[in-house]
Point group: C2
């Protein structure tokens, strides 16, 4: 975690000057950390929650964790050869991208259960660690962990420097994101809230205790599940929340309804040149991943949430552009 | 949180000198914080997990949270008069202590569901806050929050001063303990792991978002549920764990199996004069609450866990004795 910025240095160098986005951040931090002001928040109560996919890193054309699951299928089938001729595993093994893209939600769930559960927590962490340091994004040809948004890294660091505890609240898998969250975002595993299943405690034949990931879903951390997950894992209402889609609506509603000074922000992907453009707010094309409908833009305006335009508000998108 | 002890001051003034207990604590902290040693633990990874009932505060003759639930019954019945003549509510309302003590586990569960779920998180917090600042322990005639163990408060503070994040891992309700954990133990709500149900996100008729506590149990944070809950909420294996009964066995096994220097400690209630005496380890009487069987004492010896004798290791039991 970088906390060594001097007081004089610009804490948000990749954000363009002025309203609305950069100024909203600076105002919020100034107001909530001013001991003499009416909206002062004691340091212990400063909580900021961030969606991950599409808010902290690239989510198109496919969530990185879904890519991980597809990539794991050959290894799973090698251990269970009976799956080789069974759908949806057969289609994934065929490598036919058009057919894979058409897999139903039910098929995807079967793949998720087969690749994310049934192994020990230790084995799972090792598998994700190995994948995340080698797998590359199909468009950018870089590691997924390089495709984080530089302005959001600066925002995370700026909030932490000002006493905020930064949390991830992701629809993705809690254990998956925990593997790299500290290294990539400076967010420790205990501050990752995500979709999460149960584990089962047991012993090896040598009597060593270990945990097995099991398919029982405890929390689907999306939409209403985000404030529910935040209550489960944090037990405090965040003062600030950051998202980019309908899946983050309830989290922003919950965070910004708490009284005092609150910050709700939504990243709008309107930058086809540097990243992607999808909406359909502001007339951008509708996509299945990261839907930002006009109704969400309308709610943002009504509630005073700030829409971040990637194109206008960000000088740089990725760290490697700097 | 008290972190202002000077380097010269005794960090554990209520612990009697020497082995095994006091020395085991000092050795563990010295070894895991010595940067030049082989068992050094980076500060971000220092985690200590504490059971609550019987480890941090009094659990006899009845868990304080069960007392809370019994005390809440009249208010619940006032809102739902149809429960007045229905068991187990009828028995609780009768005030017949002998009959109440005989209620079955199934009856108790009905009382827990009726008094801990169905209300908003905000209302629940207000109800617990009001109760915990007025209800008194039947034997000691003091607020429950005064009946914390002074040596354990010193231990919590000492670990935090040395960079450990202190967590509660309790079989009690996560939301219940969160109400007072920061004030009483210096442990913030996000560091309380407990038995926990789901919540449901919804809106008031004015459109304000709120969470309702619902009866769906996500985690029974006892026995095998303790390491499972620790993984769910923290995602790291603790370096140290503290308990007092069979319910803490798996947590201590999990924490102390992780390699490097580890600390597992069990509080033995062998002090009938200052608190209570129950076991049956070391021939103390068996009780339903806080069972510490001889098999647990045997496992402690085999695995190098330290048994804390309240009678011999603690100069003071409660803060008000000092």
């Amino acid at each position: 975690m970088s906390q060594d910025a001097s007081a004089d240095a610009d804490p948000l160098p990749s954000w363009n000057d002025g309203p609305p986005a950069r100024q909203a951040i600076l105002d919020f931090v100034r107001i909530t950390t001013d001991k003499t002001g009416p909206d002062f928040v004691p340091e212990a109560e400063r909580i900021a929650a961030f969606d991950q996919d599409g808010t902290l890193w690239v989510e198109h054309p496919i969530y990185s964790q879904v890519m991980y699951c597809l990539d794991r299928v050959p290894a799973v089938v090698a251990k269970k050869p009976e799956l080789k001729s069974v759908e949806p595993f057969k289609t994934v093994l065929s490598g036919n991208q058009a057919a894979i893209a058409k897999l139903s939600m039910k098929d995807l769930e079967k793949i998720l259960v087969a690749t994310l559960t049934g192994m020990s927590v230790t084995d799972f962490n090792a598998e994700v660690s190995a994948w995340i340091t080698t797998a590359k994004h199909p468009k950018f040809g870089r590691l997924y962990t390089y495709l984080v948004y530089q302005p959001m890294l600066e925002l995370l660091s700026y909030l932490r420097t000002n006493g905020y505890k930064t949390y991830i609240a992701t629809g993705g898998g809690q254990d998956f994101v925990r593997v790299y969250s500290e290294r990539v975002y400076g967010i420790p595993p205990e501050q990752v809230v995500g979709s999460v299943g149960g584990t089962s405690f047991g012993y090896t034949k040598d009597g060593e205790p270990f945990l097995t990931k099991d398919p029982r879903l405890l929390l689907n951390d999306d939409k209403a599940g985000k404030p529910e997950g935040i209550h489960l894992m944090i037990g405090r209402r965040p003062n600030a929340a950051f998202g980019n889609s309908s899946g983050d609506r309830q989290m922003l509603e919950y965070a910004t309804a708490g009284g005092g000074s609150r910050l709700g922000m939504l990243v709008l992907h309107d930058d086809a040149e540097r990243e992607f453009a999808y909406g359909p707010a502001r007339g951008l094309p509708q996509t299945k991943i990261g839907t930002f409908p006009q109704t969400l833009a309308d709610e943002a305006q009504k509630k005073g949430w700030t829409v971040i335009s990637m194109k206008k508000d960000w000088k740089h998108v990725f760290p490697f552009e700097k």
